[in-house]
Amino acid sequence: MRLAVFLSEYKEPAMLERLKAEKLGIVLVQNGVYHAAVKKDGKVSPVLSKDVEYYALSEDLQSRGFSDSDVVDGKVKVINYEGLVDLIFNDYEKTIWL
């Protein structure tokens, strides 16, 4: 399956380790964007250590004081709500909001 996992909080949900999918995307929204925008003790969030697609919502980055270019890891693609709509319809079949 092609699965988009929405992560809305700044923690590492146990479920994230378990989910398998042919194509897996992790969409950082709301407080999930901190995974993309800050390092803790100098380290990038463990959430970003998987070999999957990553996205972060621009509106939620900006609300919290970050610009799109503040993203700490180049593999995270910054998208806006319009991009998110395309992602949901074109790139993935199923979604899970953690």
Partner: protein
Amino acid sequence: MGKLTIGCFSSLVGSMSLDFAIKLSEAAVKKGHEVDLWLSGNGTMLGKKGQGKFRDYSYLMGTVKELINSGKFKITNCEACAKARGIGREDTEEGFGIASMDWYLASAFGTDRVLHIGGE
């Protein structure tokens, strides 16, 4: 063009999940898609009449009304969840449906994508 069913179980004001659901609906409708939005749990607070518009709290009713007027957006409150909170038909803004939980499953049956946003 497709159809997206969103379920939002998070509260108004107390959480930003309803803001997220409305912004996503707006972007989808703008692109020509249809959206069904199911409100359950504290999400049912969104339809309450008479919400004050303060800058410290998000106020979504303006956008919701525009979405309803677009003809591509249906928004429905979970009847039991709303009633448990004292929100009946007379307390609910026009344009909001009120239905039992099978409405959400029926929408999910006939849709292309489901985004289920759980409660707090």
